[in-house]
């Protein structure tokens, strides 16, 4: 076939070249690396002023610090601030005393000026994190290590609210101001901060590939130090967060030891499969995620309290429990001491359903739409069970699929465009029941306020709870709020769950010192790695 050597070379030469290059590529494989690889949805936000979803807290807690921090036993603990007090105990004026000698990643010290700048920046920009700092009327530096906050209303839980109001390096940000609408501050360095590091947190940002990955390296001079956990456990030197949510790929990566901690919501069977593999454990560090449906209280027929109660009586939430080991849900999650363990939860009861329907101004077959955002296994099960139960009970149900976050968020911008029942997952954002009440129930509208329950009485009670300094009194107020919400039924409680993650067993989590709150639960400062075990599992 090949008459000459030249012809042979013309045909096989390119093939040999490609094979050689492939072999060279194969030889460059990484050895056992001190790195933790985890996955997440995209995009990430590395600018503290833009934090709006729980996955944004993940990068935030690595790069930045706040004045306070969620404590493992509940509440807050000192962080950049070593102490604080409310002037006259009213909750209007707060003084925070900063720790001295805390360094930013560039070696400069964290001072009161940085704190003032960071909060003012978030207020002026008005972006995703604005809701955390919105009560602040004025902020000033009394001296290099003392900051005063004056609020526009009493907020007794202010130290908890600002847990994730992160502090930026003012001098560094000021060197990178871009054109913008904030006078001499321009864009407040927004363009630069999004892709760079101005923090003091346990990890420094090394790589930011937009929509693809973030890479961090350990900050050796972190102000809390790096405690020794003994037994071959060393601090994690590098963290990589990849924008991957596709369950099949994520599962294969975990099995291949290319993903150390996964946050994909897998079906129960997949978790069981992973748990059965040597070297992979299931772990639930995040606590108390509450799964609910918000009922649109400004759209017929769910604007009628009796109709809403009837829907609650038609639903059997316990059918969802075996799927991922969840438990009955509460309006205020059980992670908070203020939750009401005696609140009477709804159970499926068709007789009571009929009693409520008899009092309703709408017939049972009034059309209802349940929204089904695609891509979350929790929502898949919730919607399936609710639709089946309501249909079996005689309601006229239509399920509407939503692709992506955009139609969900924009559809919830008006009660007219929103469905009757919208599934949500409350993840505690900061360590106080106010996180659920203020972030979800105070405001009507938007995805988190998709109940449209604009009740002056409820708002007044939430404000009162926020302003009440005495812990027992606050607890009583919050428990009454929980009872009231259950009575008015602007939601259907599904369950409470501690989301499970699959994790390589060479990753150790300090569960005694880590809080189960969003963000804090994935602060890899509290994780360690056993490189010997990793080498053993990788066969190296």
């Amino acid at each position: 076939m090949f008459r000459s050597r030249n012809t042979k070379m013309k045909v096989f030469g390119p093939v040999l070249l490609v094979v050689s290059l492939l072999l060279i590529g194969l030889c460059t494989q990484a050895e056992v690396e001190n790195i933790l690889i985890t996955n997440d949805v995209s995009p990430f936000a590395c600018d503290p002023a833009e934090i709006m979803f729980w996955n944004h807290y993940r990068s935030g807690v690595l790069m930045y610090d706040g004045l306070t921090y969620p404590a493992a036993e509940g509440g807050v603990q000192p962080h950049l601030a070593e102490s604080w007090e409310s002037m006259a105990g009213t909750g209007y004026d707060w003084i925070f005393h900063l720790r001295q000698g805390v360094k930013f990643h560039d070696g400069t010290e964290v001072t009161a000026e940085d704190v003032v700048f960071s909060f003012q920046r978030t207020l002026d920009l008005g972006l995703g994190a604005y809701g955390l700092v919105e009560p602040i009327k004025e902020i000033s530096a009394i001296d290099d290590y003392t900051v005063r906050f004056t609020l526009n209303r009493a907020v007794s839980v202010f130290p908890a609210v600002i847990t994730y109001a992160f502090i930026l390096n003012k001098d560094l940000v000021m060197q990178h101001l871009g054109p913008g609408d904030h006078g001499e501050m321009g864009d407040y360095g927004l363009e630069w901060v999004r892709y760079n590091d101005a923090g003091s947190g346990p990890y420094t940002l090394e790589v930011h590939e937009v929509n693809m990955k973030l890479e961090f390296e350990r900050f050796e001079d972190y102000f809390l130090g790096w405690p020794d956990y003994g037994d071959n456990l060393v601090p994690i030197e590098k963290v990589r967060i990849i924008a991957l949510w596709e369950p099949t790929t994520a599962k294969n990566l975990v099995i291949d030891r290319e993903l150390d901690v996964t946050y994909s919501t897998f079906p129960q069977s997949t978790f069981e499969e992973l748990d059965a593999i040597e070297g992979i454990d299931l772990n639930a560090v995040n606590k108390s995620h509450v799964l609910v449906f918000h009922l649109n209280t400004q759209k017929k027929p769910t604007d009628d309290v009796h109709f809403r109660r009837a829907l609650n009586y038609a639903f059997d939430a316990s059918q969802t429990f075996p799927v991922w080991g969840s438990r009955p849900g509460h309006v205020i999650g059980t992670i908070y001491p203020e939750h009401n363990p005696d609140a009477a939860l709804y159970e499926r009861n068709l007789d009571k359903m009929k009693e409520e329907l008899a009092l309703s101004e709408y017939p049972q077959d009034t059309p209802l739409t349940i929204w089904w955002p695609i891509g979350d296994y929790f929502f898949d099960v919730m919607v399936g069970v609710l639709a089946a139960d309501l249909t079996a009970a005689g309601f006229n149900i239509k399920v509407e699929q939503l692709q992506g976050l955009a139609p969900l968020i924009s559809g919830c911008s008006s009660p007219d465009t929103q469905g009757h029942a919208v599934p949500l997952q409350y993840a505690p954002e900061y360590p106080d029941a106010d996180s659920t009440l203020n972030r979800v129930w105070y405001f009507a509208g938007g995805y988190s306020g998709s109940h449209w329950f604009d009740d002056p009485q409820l708002k007044e009670q939430i404000e009162l709870g926020r302003a009440t300094v005495d812990a027992e009194q606050r607890k009583a107020i919050y428990q009454e709020i929980e009872r009231y919400l259950l009575d008015q039924a602007p939601l259907i409680l599904v369950s409470e769950v501690d989301p499970v993650r699959a994790m390589q067993d060479y990753i150790y989590v300090d569960t005694e010192n880590i809080a189960g709150i969003t963000g804090a639960a994935v602060n890899f400062y509290y994780y360690r790695i056993d490189l010997n075990r990793k080498a053993e599992l990788l066969g190296q």
């Binding site: 492939l22 030889c27 995703g128 937009v210 596709e246 790929t249």
Partner: protein
Amino acid sequence: MLWHILKFVAKRFLYSVLVLVGLSMLVFVIARMVPTDVVRATLGSHASERAIVDMRTKLHLDDSLPVQYYHWIKGAVRGDFGISLMTKRPVVVDLKEFLPATAELALVSLVFSLIVGQVLGVVAARYRNSWLDNVSRMIAYSGTVTPAFIFGILFMLIFSYWLNIFPTMGRLSSGVSPPPTITGMHILDGLLTGRWHVVGDALWHILLPAVSLGLSAVAQESRVTRASMIENLSKAYVRTARANAIPQSRIMFRYVLKPSLIPTVALMGMDFATTISNAFLVELVFFWPGFSRYGVTAMLEGDLFAISAVVMVLGVMFIVMNLIVDIITSILDPRISLAERS
């Protein structure tokens, strides 16, 4: 010949501009017909009202559609497609980052489909109506009916998971730094800068997704090559060559294959553009940071400016590829004049 080509290109360019203007209007209007509050979706539900109003004003979202289009086209002509609401940076920066990744994937998959398609087509033509022809047909049909992402998941399962030969995702291994950016394609940039280990690593990563993507094109090309070769094999000059005792293999590869390539070349051009637009699921499965994945994510997130830019880029690609294919075809077969093709 050169003069004819230049005249042809100029005429096509003028037509293309009209097509692109029409396309831009269409995609602009359609993107804004979707009832998405992009500002709330971008800033989140806890942003201040002031920030929401400011952003709406800045993006001209409260203006009429013609005014919005005017502002957008004014920027687009200068290469400014606006800011992506997803990535929060200029769309053109996103395109520069993601397009080369998909172009590289598409090119490698085309090379694969060309080589395998030609081999299958030649074998099928040479041994037509035999079992080899049937096997080739079976492979071709499998490639046509099976979506690329199914192949992707299958290959990942077999070669990455069970056999552990190929990586599961990404363009490069974690310990390998990308080469200096010239084209944005790691293989080409690695070759140009002499980073052989990067080239090898990039090839190792691109093989599975490229093969997954290329299999459907293999089907088309093998069938077209087979048909074309069978037609040419019955020509008089082939009979003459046989009569002169020229070996069959030489006849196939030297005398018949070149003219049989003409329809394949035409296909390849359109395949390239189609591959880029269809690569989304393969990019998702293999975590490939590409243009298709970016485009579909933009659509799901309601990122108006990214959607418009992605569709415009695809439109330009189809037009340019069509033009290149016409020119190459006329070079391959001088009997086909550009005047006829235009």
